[in-house]
């Protein structure tokens, strides 16, 4: 079973991203901050992480750095997901170890395209 983790301090984004991933046959958990996300990863590494940048306490970069340094932390595909849409922010996320970048607002098509990009088969015929 492929698994997803949605990390975002916005309950709305968590709900939207969860729902999209679930319709694409992911079993999904979510976390509203970085510390909880890293604790969940320590329990079981997900296949894919949708990671917000701007979060209180620990931002997305710090989460990503910590994740990539932890045992098995190189495995999850990380989709950085943020409203920061400038080239500099994207380049920084890629350097920090993100696999793909989703600019908010996003829709189901974009999520599917990005998952496809990082190697997950998505069923284009499936509709939420």
């Amino acid at each position: 079973m492929r698994t997803g983790l949605v990390v975002d301090d916005s309950a709305v984004i968590r709900k939207v991203a969860r729902r999209i991933l679930e319709t694409l046959d992911f079993s999904v958990r979510d976390a509203e901050d970085g510390e909880k996300a890293l604790a969940m990863c320590a329990e079981a590494m997900p296949s894919v992480i949708v990671l917000d940048w701007n979060m209180p306490n620990m931002d997305g970069y710090e989460v990503l750095r910590n994740l990539r340094q932890s045992p098995g932390g190189d495995r999850p595909k990380v989709l950085f997901c943020t409203t920061e849409n400038d080239v500099g922010a994207i380049a920084r996320a890629l350097r920090a170890g993100a696999d793909e970048y989703i600019m908010k607002p996003f829709d189901r098509e974009i999520m599917m395209a990005k998952l496809d990009q990082v190697g997950f088969a998505v069923h284009r015929s499936a509709h939420a």
């Binding site: 080239v87 380049a91 890629l94 793909e100 989703i102 395209a113």
Partner: protein, 284 residues
């Protein structure tokens, strides 16, 4: 919309663009043409049909055809045709054209430019092998409106996220406000020309690789055969044509035959090749 209006529109679109609409496409016609009615201050689709019956050629006629034939597209759409280009077609072409160092590619339903620019990005990746080459991509489409957008090379953040890997976004695009502009390096590789595939296209010259995807599906069988036969003529003797996943030449024409190794890929048929004046030893 009355039955007579719908019948008129089906015949009108068939004649103008080759678009073969089945009787079940009524909803599609209504949904696509309602915005055209609004644009030309017409209250109903029947008013639009009335205006089309009276007029000949003008912006409204063009808008009707464009509204019915414009399709959503995205960068690296369906991925496989672009993997094929990068892994098979381009390396073969580089080998086969080593002496002339000239390569011509046709994107026959270029729409807003995503397909020709995707091909341009892949060619750019192979730039080290193409030093001193003349590589030309010609993008054609029925709609002048979409070609204008293609020439501008400006895309929304939704458009650049569908199919385009973020690494290529960073490499080839710059931000302009809320939009993303593709680099002049890539726009300079593509020339755009309006073209109705039903009309002659000999003037475009010969091509080594033709991408003609997801446009034949709108034509009826005789129109498909005619277009395919003329594409075969526009092909260099060792050239290749890629059609969309739902398209084929089987049962339509022998001017093109399946490549046999790669799905969707076709080359000139034997009868066609025999008639061709020259043949290159190394096919691709």
């Amino acid at each position: 919309m009355t039955e007579a209006d719908f019948t008129f529109l089906r015949e009108y679109l068939k004649k103008r663009s080759g678009l073969a609409l089945g009787p079940e496409k009524r909803y599609l016609v209504e949904s696509r043409l309602s915005p055209v009615c609004r644009r030309f201050n017409l209250a109903t689709l029947s008013d639009l049909v009335g205006a089309l019956r009276l007029s000949r050629e003008g912006p409204m006629e063009q808008a009707v055809v464009e509204a019915m034939t414009t399709n959503e597209t995205f960068f690296f759409r369906d991925r496989a045709p672009f993997d094929l280009f990068r892994d098979v077609l381009l390396p073969r072409a580089i080998a086969a054209r080593a002496s002339t160092r000239r390569l011509r590619i046709w994107s026959a339903a270029a729409s807003t430019g995503q397909e020709p620019y995707s091909l341009a990005m892949l060619i750019h990746e192979a730039a080290a092998q193409l030093v001193g080459w003349q590589v030309e991509i010609v993008g054609t489409d029925l709609s002048t409106e979409v070609l204008e957008k293609a020439r501008l090379g400006l895309y929304s953040h939704f458009e650049v996220q569908r199919g385009l890997p973020v690494q290529l976004l960073v490499k080839h695009f710059t931000q302009v406000g809320e939009q993303w502009r593709i680099s002049p390096q890539l726009t300079n590789m593509v020339s755009y020309r309006p073209l109705n595939l039903l009309h002659p296209f000999d003037h475009l010259g010969q091509f080594d690789i033709v991408y003609c995807r997801n446009v034949l599906i709108y034509f009826d069988a005789p129109t498909k055969a005619d277009v395919l036969e003329r594409i075969a003529k526009a092909l260099t003797p060792d050239g290749a044509v890629l059609l969309g996943a739902a398209e084929t030449v089987i049962g339509l024409t022998e001017a093109l035959v399946p490549d046999g190794q790669h799905r969707g890929l076709y080359r000139q048929g034997a009868t066609h090749r025999a008639a061709a004046p020259q043949r290159l030893a190394a096919g691709f």
